[in-house]
Symmetry: D2
Subunit: 224 residues, 4 copies
């Protein structure tokens, strides 16, 4: 239910506006907007804020990254079991700001699935989306890197990236849902993204750096 | 005060025995032993456990790693400001399981110092300890990697690594305190480490994987 | 023609037995065995030996790795155009000892294809082979990492990895040829690999560290 | 003799203007200018051009990078022994476009010294230069990264970086010679760099991308 589509995933990145107390506030805003509008909203806070955020909201909380490790001697790494116990019900994988090796993506997808969590693999074009789909994650989120943080929505600038990703992913693995990201911030962008065949959006600065994140979120989901 | 020497820094790594609730329990044991014996004990939990641990103990809590970034678009990274707000009063830097680039180590040491936190730079031999000391951290913790997790204490296997590190670090930067690690687990090891000129120990498996971590910690600090 | 299957690709790695003059000698042995037996043999020497090897043999020479860069300011990296001019007609991509990020693998496959060279993407299991095939390289070479250098042939230890990779790759992209590697050294291993549906082998230590590499190569291809 | 100062080290990077035949031409120009003017000029071609360049010029040839490995199973890496046999008499280490981990820098410096070659460690500020000097390389080349390729010479923009690096390196290890780089292209820049206490320059685009590299090089060394 909580990951039913259409879905909005808000990546807090390491923005100071989404750090510590700010992360808590923002997560609560997401929860309220989700409650008020019925649109599923998922938050991805920083690692050190994850427990606190998960304690304070009922919407799904995902990690920004999980390392391809098993428990043991891996100082400084993110262990899936720790993320789960801290309250994560899923994780971003291979975000463009945290690109991973192919074998590591596959290992994390597999471990996440075994643990009953949700994986959202970020990709940069049709070809890498196809590759990701072949490894059977729950979601593929395609984001042309040149549009991330640009304010130019992928749905307008490169709609064919979304439609071709949807078609290719479907042909390789129909169980995988496609999200899109990069430059998404308005209700119009979100609507366009859905019309292109995606089932949701992954976004960050468009909401987090907005003058009023609550208004921005409400606008985002207003037309769905 | 809290970082006065002799000091024990316990690295929780990603051991399942030091994850989630286990991390809380272990941190509380460290706090009790510190209170009972007067020896400063510092804990380094996993990123996602850090807030929770810091909320529950009064001994210093350090991060296992901080990324060399400023706030902004850095999905999946560890931001110093987030670590501080979560309750970290310092951080390990360049642990052998999370080796960093030279320029990044220097950037993190500088940012940590500006923020009023403590940096503990891990090194693998006399030469890299000298290099680390030249960048003015608070502590250098020398650990021959082949002895980490071996149960063979560096103070016995390679005492000259400790004494030469102490001498070299002192000649380059007398403000830097030297810790040693790798294979340390008993009170005898700790005592030997101090006699070789170090001001404390960095350790992990010797305590965390002990049948009774409380007993192991008590033994460790018994002779100091 | 030169990449027609069945094919043997010999990875020189950074073995001292395949460095400098030794690389030249070994490449000449490969050329002779290829000439004598009619089996296509391809060599992958170290970067700094590649020009010299390519100047001295007529069999195909491939790079061990190409970086995902365009010409410009990338000190220390391997530029595709430089490899081509030095005599490479293809490249290994994502070898288990040089794992690459997903987006970088895709970029290199694309650039290699545009340049008219051949790409051989190394993978570690069925899932990553499927992902690689979705990005349309010329070859996928599956090698369970635990068997590399083991002397235990994948065709015996994990034949299902080869057959499932062949099936999966074919279903995703029938243009991609499957090779297998890890532990292959004898003619029996090679024959078994072909019977499992692969079209050749990628190997290293079984030949390079043999007492007599020429004999070992002759044995390898004797039954094909 | 060949590494006597004042010295010019020309980094070919992966510029197409310094790839393959172009690399040969450029190296010959460097050799001629060195012969005509008596100034030591060292070239750092791409890995796959190194053998060919070394065969064709008598000036010193250095690698752009060496990996921190011993001979063995390290596909795609640069082995010191291979570089030496290909004709390298030294290597850049830790260039800002190929940043290395602290422990790896130290390992490479040590191996290079044992092998009788020259190490030139690149650094980005006074603190990292101090750290590098503590590991006893032959040269430290300080380059503020924001000035690399900028055309604004470090000797003008941040002269104190050069003078403080010279002083700090001297105090830590008087055997280490300081070079400077970033934005250097004219004879005036080079002269200023020497007056600030450095013993030479490391440069790239200022010469390689010049309309006439021979003229640019002649200008560079004209006042020395």
């Amino acid at each position: 239910m909580r990951y039913d589509t259409p879905i909005v995933i808000l990546n807090f990145k390491t923005y100071i506006e989404a750090t510590g107390e700010n992360a808590l506030d923002l997560a609560r805003v997401c929860e309220q907007v989700s409650d008020e509008t019925g649109v599923n909203i998922v938050v991805a806070p920083q690692h050190m804020d994850l427990f606190r955020v998960a304690q304070n909201v009922k919407i799904p909380v995902v990690a920004q990254h999980i390392d391809p490790i098993d428990a043991g001697g891996h100082t400084g790494s993110i262990l899936l079991e720790c993320a789960k116990e801290a309250g994560a019900s899923g994780t971003l994988v291979n975000h463009s700001e945290k690109r991973m090796k192919l074998a590591d993506i596959q290992k994390v997808i597999g471990r996440v699935k075994e643990t009953g969590l949700i994986s959202i693999v970020c990709t940069n074009n049709v070809e890498t989306s196809a590759a990701a789909a072949a490894m059977n994650p729950d979601f593929v989120a395609v984001e042309p890197p040149e549009l991330i943080g640009s304010g130019i929505p992928v749905s307008k600038a490169e709609p064919e990236v979304v439609t071709e990703t949807v078609d290719t992913v479907r042909s390789i693995n129909p169980n995988v849902k496609v999200l899109c990201g990069a430059g998404i911030s308005t209700g119009e962008d979100f609507k366009a993204a859905l019309e292109l065949g995606s089932e949701g959006v992954l976004l960050a600065s468009g909401i987090i750096l907005a003058d009023n994140p609550r208004e921005a979120l409400l606008d985002l989901v207003s037309d769905i």
